[in-house]
Symmetry: D2
Subunit: 412 residues, 4 copies
C-alpha cells in the first residue's frame, strides 16, 4: 500500500512541475485577476497543504520550511490562521521561483520519509486528499496561465500542443432518458471522493433529454449574430445587469473580432475560431441565455449524473496534450467526460445528509455552497484520473476563465 | 364575477392608500438604499402595472396619463421599454405625491369602467395578477418605509400599532416528518398562483424535522455572545467575506447596543429588544450561521411546504395591525404562516417543467432565478389573502430589510 | 447700529424663504448628488449656524430647538461635533419642511431678542458672518435645486423668470493691463470680508490682457465641433483621465443634443441653446481646455482682481430675476461682476500672512485650501450685496453645477 | 561635443542597469500599486523614449525593435499613440527581462551609431532630455522597488547600503530671509532645464524664515503621540476625509509599531526607527498637518528657491550609496539639496509666460499642472547631476512613496 501511495505522490507532484516546464521565470509571478493566482503560488500552496495537514500533525519533529509561508500560502483555511490577501498574491516577488522549488523539495523529502513507513489511515486519507487537491491546482495552472498569456498584447504561446484533428461534429440531437428514482452521489469508502459528493442518495427525476454533444462555435456565432447578447429577454436579471455594466460581453472569453472574422486565443497562440469545435470559456449566464435562445435549458446536475452513469468514462483529458476542446465525432452522447466542464442549472448546495470533512479540512468544500453553480464532467486540462461521474465542480455563474462549455437539456 | 373582481380591485387599491395615511408628504419620497423604493414610487408603479398590462391593450381608446410615466414607473420590464434607473427613484421630486394620487384616480376610473363590462379571461387574469402584485408592494411599503424611518436619527414612529401581547414562547423542540414522495407546487387553474409555483410535481424527501417555532431574540443573543459573528467556521465563505468588509454586521438589522442593553427600531419607534419575540431582520447568511452554531440547518423549501400543507393557514398578518412579529404561544408547529418570512436553504430555481407567464409578463418571476434563496410563509406585514403554502418569495442571502426570521430543520 | 443689523437679519432671512416659494414640498428633500444638498437642509443649516455660533454662546439661558439638529445640520465643523454624513442629507424625511420652518421661527425669535439689545462686537461680527453665510447658501439653493430639477425627466420649471433680453454680444477682443506691483486682498476692518481675502498684500504682475467678455455658447460649440472633447492635447492629464472614464463629457452640464440642435435646461425649463449667451456650467477643466484650444489661458486670480478693481461693480445678480446669464452688450470689460463665476488658473491657497477666523469658525474657509481653484466675480444667482472685487470663491476643477463661465487671458 | 554626449549616454544608461544588479528576475515584474511601475517597465520605457523621440525621427532607416513595444512602453504620450493601461503594467510576464535587455542593447547600438556622427542641436537636445528623463526613472526604480519589497511579508533587503553615520542633528531653529523682489526659474539656454522651470521671472516675497534642517523622526513621534493623526483641526479637509476613510494613516509609510517601539522598512531591511534621522515618506498632507501642529507652515516654492540660491549644492545623493536620509550635522541651512524632497505649499502651476516643449514632447510636464504640489531639492536616491535650485518636482499631496520630508517655514 505505501508503495502505491508513494508512487502516486511522486507522480502527481512531478506532473505539477512538468506543466510549468514551458514557462519563463516571469510567467510564474503574474496574477492577472484576483481569481487567477500566479503559478508560483499554486506550486507553493499545494505544498503548504501537505506541510500543514500531514507533516505538521503527523511527522514527529517536523520543522516548517518557513514561518512566513504559513500565512502566504494559506488559501482560505481560517481554522489554520491568517491569510495573505488573495488579490495580492501577484505582488510577491519573493519568495522567488527558486525558493518555491526548494520548498517543494523540502516537503517532498519529508513526505517521502513519512510515506515509506507504516502510515495510519488518516495519513493515507490526507495524503490522497492532498494529491487530488494538487490535481485541481494542476487544472488551475492551465486556466490561470491562459488568462495571463491570453491578455498579454504579445499573445505568447504556452506550448504548441498536439495538432487538433479535423473532425466533423455530429448533427445536434437530443437523447431521451426515462424519469424515475435514481441513485446519485457516492458513499464514503467507495474509493476517493470529496465530501460534497456524499452521501449517495435517491433522487426523483422526470423524463428528460440531453443534447448528444456540446454546442459548437458555429452555433454560438448564430446566437451572437441573432443579437443574443443584446436581447434582455434571453438573460437572467443578474446577467443582464452585468450586460448593462462595464462588465458587458459580446463574445466568449478570449475571442477577438477582426473585421468580420473571429479569432481566439488558445494555449498554442492566437488562431481563427474553428466553427466545428465546442464553444469554450462561456459563463453560466451565457450558457443559460444560449439555451433559452435555442428553446432548451441547461441540465440539472442530477440529470447529468444519471446520464453519465450509463457512459464510458472516456474523453479528452490533459494527458492527451491538446489543452483545447475537440469536436465530437461519434457516440450517442459524446464528450460527457473531459473536453469541457458542462454548466448545469443546479445551485451548488449540500446533498441531503451532507457532512463536511472533519476539523480544519471541513473548510475544503462546504463553505462555498452559496451563489455558485455546479459543473460536471471535467475538461481537456483535467487529469484523467481525477474525474468521476459524481464529481461536482462549482463556479460563480459569471465566471468564464475555466474550460467551460454548454450541453443542452430539455423536458420530454 | 365582475362584481367580485370590481370589489377586490377597490378593496386592494384602497388598502395601499390606507397604509400611507400616517405618512408625511416627505416620507413618500425617500429611497434610503437602492432596494428600498420610495412609497410614492410604489403607489405609482402598481398603477402603471394596470395601465400597461390591462388598460393599454384592452380598453379601446385609452390615453395614458403621462408618456413620461411609462419610463419612470417601469420597474424592470425590458419588453415594455426603458426604465428610470432603480437607484435613482428617490431623486425625483416630481411628479409630486398629489400627481401620483391623480394618476391613481385616473387609472382607477378607467379600470372600473373596464371591469363593469363583460371582460375576457385574459383581462380577468391580468387584473387579478395586478392585485396580487399590488399586495406584494403593500408589503414593500412597510419594509421600505421601515428602512427609511429606522435609519433616521430621530427614530420616528410610523404608527403606534396594536400593543404586542406578552406571551411566553414554547420550549424549542423539533417535530419529525416522515420522508417519502410528496406533491408540492400548484397547477394552473387551482386558484390564483404565480408562475413560479407551477407545475405541481412530486418530490422525494428524506425523514426530517422542523423546529416547533421560530428562533427567539434570546436565542440569537446567545449566539452573539458566544462570538457567533466573529467565528469564521460558522459562516459560508461569501458571508464571511462580507463580515470582513465594510458590510460587516454585529447584530440583526435595526438593533443598537447601548451599554449592555439591546434596543431595536420597530414601526412604533425604538424599544428594548424583547427576548421572547422571534428574531427578525436577519439575512439568509445570518440564519445559516445561527443554524450551524445550533447544530441544525435551514429547511429546504420542499420540506417546508410538506410540513405547511398539514397546517391551518393561521398566523399574524398585516390585518392584525401589529406590524411586528409575535412570540409563539401554542401549537405543535406554530407560526408557519404570517409573523416572519422563513429563510430556506433552497436556491430560487425553476420547478421541473416550469413555464413563465406569456409575453411581457414573463419577466415577472422567471428572470430572477439566480443567486437568490426561497423564503416561505409570509410575515406580519403580508396581507392574509396573499399567502399560500406553495408561495415562493425570494431574496438575496445578504438581504435583511424584509421581515425575515429563522426556523431550524434537521435530519432525523 | 442694532437697527441696522436687525433689518439686515430680517431681510436676508426672508430672502431665503422667498427663494423657496415656488417649490413643492417634495422639492425641499432631494439631494441629487452628494454636493447638492436638499433645500430643506440649507434652510436648517444656516439657522443652525446662528444657533451654534451666536445664540448658544451669547444668549443667556438659550435652549436649543432640538439636540438631534446639532448633528444633522452641522455641515463640517469638527470643532463643534459629529456630523450627519453629507451624502445622506437627502435620506432624511424627518424633520419635515414644516419642522424646519418652526426651527427657523424659533431661532429668529431668539436672534431678534438678542439683537434688539446692546450687542458686543463679537455678536455683531458673528451675526454678520452668519448673514453672509446665509447668502452663500442662497446661491446654493439655486444651484442645487437646478441640479435636481434639471435631472428630472419632466424638466420641471422653477420659475418663469424675467424674459432674457435679446442682445448681440460684442466681438471678442483683449484688453491690455500693465504689469507692476499691485495691492490685492483686504485688511480686517475694511468692511466685511472673509478671512481668506486677507491680508491685503502686494503682488508683482507682468503685463497681461483679459478678454472683454465671457466666452459665448457659439464659441464653445465651435470648440465642440472641432473635436475639442476628443483631443487629449487640449486637456490637463487629470481632466483627460476623467474624459476616458465613466465621467466623460461631451458638452456643458444641462445640455442635450436632439438631432443637430442643442437644448439646455434652465430654471425656466428646457430651451434651445442661445448662441449669443455666455457658456455656463463648464468645469475648470473645460474652461482650461477651451482656453488652450483658443491659444489663450485662464487668468490668475491676481490678474482678475487687478482688472476688477478698475471696474464698476455692476452686473446681473439674483435680484435681477433672470437666474440665467445674459449676453454682454457694452463696455470695454463687461460682466466682471455677476452673470457667471469666472474660473481662474489659481489654486485656492492662503495669502501670505493668512490667519483663519478664531476658534471653531476657523474651519469656515482655511481647511479647504487644497485641490481647488479660485473663481471670481459672482453670478446671476449671487446676491448683489454679497460680492466684492476681493471675493474668492473656490471649487474643484471638475465641478460644473455652479453658474460658471470662461473669461480668457493672455500674456502680452 | 559628440564625445561628451556619447559618454554621458553610456554613463547614464549603465547606471540604470547597475541599480538593478541586486534584483532577482522576479523583482523586475511587480507593480505593487498603479503608481509604482515594475523595474522592467522602467528599463524599457526610458529606452522607448530614445527610440520614439530620437531614433525614429532622426536615424534614417531605423527599424523599431518591436511594434508592440510602441504601445506597451508608452507612458502617457497621447500624441504618440495608445498606451497599455498604467495599472496593468505589472500583469505583463512577457516581454521577459532578457527581452528588455536585448531591447536596451538594440537601442543603445543605434543611439551610439547616431551620436558618433555629426548631430543637429535637436538631436542633442532630445538626447540630453532623454538622459535627464532616464535619471528621473532611476529615482523611481528605487522608490517603486522599495514599495514592492517594503510591502512583502519577508521584508527583503535591496542592498546592505553604506552604514549610516551616527550624527546628532542640530537644534531646530529658523533662519530669516529678507523679503523683496527675487528672480527665480531659468531661461532656455542657461544649461539644461525642464520647460516647467522657465521662464526666469521676478517674484515678490515677504520676509520669511526657514527651519535650519528637516523635521526628525523624534519630532514626528511627538506629533503622533500628541494625537496628531486624530485631531481634525490639524488637517486640510481633503486630508481629513482620507483620514476617515479606508486610506487612513497612523504613521509615515513603512513604519510598523511593535509593542511600544517603531520599526521602519529601509532598502537595507527592517530597522528600528532612528529618532535622529529626518522623517521620511510623509505625504504633503502629513507635512502640512505637522507644520500646523508646530505653529509653522510649509514654505512656498519661491521662498525655497530664494533660500536655496544662496546655498552650496551639496548633500546626500544616490552616488553616496546610503539610499536613506541622514541626520543633518552642520550648516546654517543644511540639507537643502539631496537627502529628502521637501514638500512646499505651492500648487504645481505654470510660471508666467510658460511654454511647454514643442510637439509631442509638450506632454512631458505641462499637462500635470493640476492638483499637485511642488517639491524641491532632490533626495538620497536622486542622481547628483540631476538636481538644480530651480528644479520642480511634483506629486499629489496624498503621495507618500517618494523620499519626502518636511522643512518648516514661517512668517517673520
Amino acid at each position: 500500500m505505501q508503495v502505491g501511495i508513494c508512487n502516486q505522490y511522486e507522480s502527481v507532484r512531478k506532473q505539477s512541475v512538468r506543466i510549468c516546464q514551458p514557462l519563463e521565470v516571469e510567467d510564474y509571478l503574474v496574477q492577472p485577476m484576483p481569481d487567477a493566482s500566479p503559478p508560483k503560488w499554486h506550486l507553493a500552496h499545494v505544498t503548504w497543504f501537505f506541510e500543514t495537514f500531514v507533516l505538521k500533525p503527523f511527522l514527529p519533529g517536523y520543522q516548517p520550511f518557513s514561518i512566513a509561508y504559513e500565512v502566504i500560502f494559506n488559501s482560505y483555511y481560517n481554522g489554520v490562521g491568517e491569510q495573505h490577501p488573495r488579490a495580492k498574491r501577484g505582488l510577491l516577488s519573493r519568495p522567488t521561483v527558486a525558493d518555491i522549488f526548494d520548498y517543494r523539495a523540502y516537503v517532498d523529502r519529508h513526505m517521502e520519509s513519512l510515506l515509506v513507513g507504516k502510515i495510519s489511515p488518516e495519513v493515507s486519507f490526507r495524503t490522497t486528499l492532498g494529491l487530488h487537491h494538487e490535481q485541481q491546482h494542476q487544472e488551475l495552472l492551465f486556466t490561470d496561465l491562459k488568462y495571463n498569456l491570453g491578455h498579454n498584447p504579445l499573445s505568447p504561446m504556452y506550448q504548441q500542443g498536439k495538432p487538433v484533428p479535423d473532425v466533423q461534429p455530429q448533427t445536434l440531437n437530443f437523447q431521451e432518458f426515462s424519469g424515475g428514482i435514481y441513485q446519485i452521489g457516492v458513499n464514503a469508502g467507495d474509493g476517493f471522493a470529496f465530501d460534497n459528493e456524499s452521501p449517495c442518495h435517491d433522487v426523483l427525476i422526470r423524463d428528460f433529454c440531453l443534447s448528444n454533444r456540446l454546442v459548437t462555435n458555429a452555433e454560438f456565432i448564430e446566437f451572437m449574430e441573432d443579437g443574443g447578447y443584446q436581447r434582455p429577454e434571453l438573460w437572467l436579471a443578474d446577467a443582464w445587469a452585468l450586460q448593462r455594466s462595464e462588465e458587458k460581453h459580446y463574445a466568449p472569453l478570449y475571442w477577438q473580432q477582426r473585421q468580420s472574422e473571429y479569432f481566439v486565443y488558445t494555449l498554442a497562440g492566437l488562431a481563427p475560431v474553428n466553427p466545428l469545435e465546442p464553444v469554450c470559456h462561456v459563463s453560466g449566464y451565457e450558457a443559460d441565455a444560449f439555451a433559452r435562445w435555442k428553446g432548451a435549458r441547461l441540465p440539472t446536475e442530477m440529470e447529468w449524473e444519471v446520464a453519465a452513469n450509463s457512459q464510458e468514462q472516456t474523453g479528452v483529458f490533459v494527458e492527451d496534450g491538446f489543452f483545447h476542446p475537440l469536436a465530437a465525432d461519434t457516440g450517442e452522447l459524446s464528450g460527457m467526460f473531459g473536453n469541457l466542464w458542462e454548466w448545469t442549472q443546479s445551485s451548488y448546495s449540500p446533498y441531503p445528509g451532507f457532512k463536511s470533512f472533519q476539523g480544519q479540512l471541513g473548510e475544503y468544500n462546504g463553505k462555498f455552497m452559496a451563489n455558485q453553480l455546479v459543473l460536471r464532467g471535467g475538461s481537456c486540462v483535467t487529469p484523467r484520473s481525477h474525474i468521476r461521474p459524481s464529481y461536482r465542480n462549482f463556479f460563480y455563474p459569471a465566471d468564464r476563465w475555466q474550460f467551460t462549455g454548454i450541453r443542452l437539456a430539455n423536458d420530454v
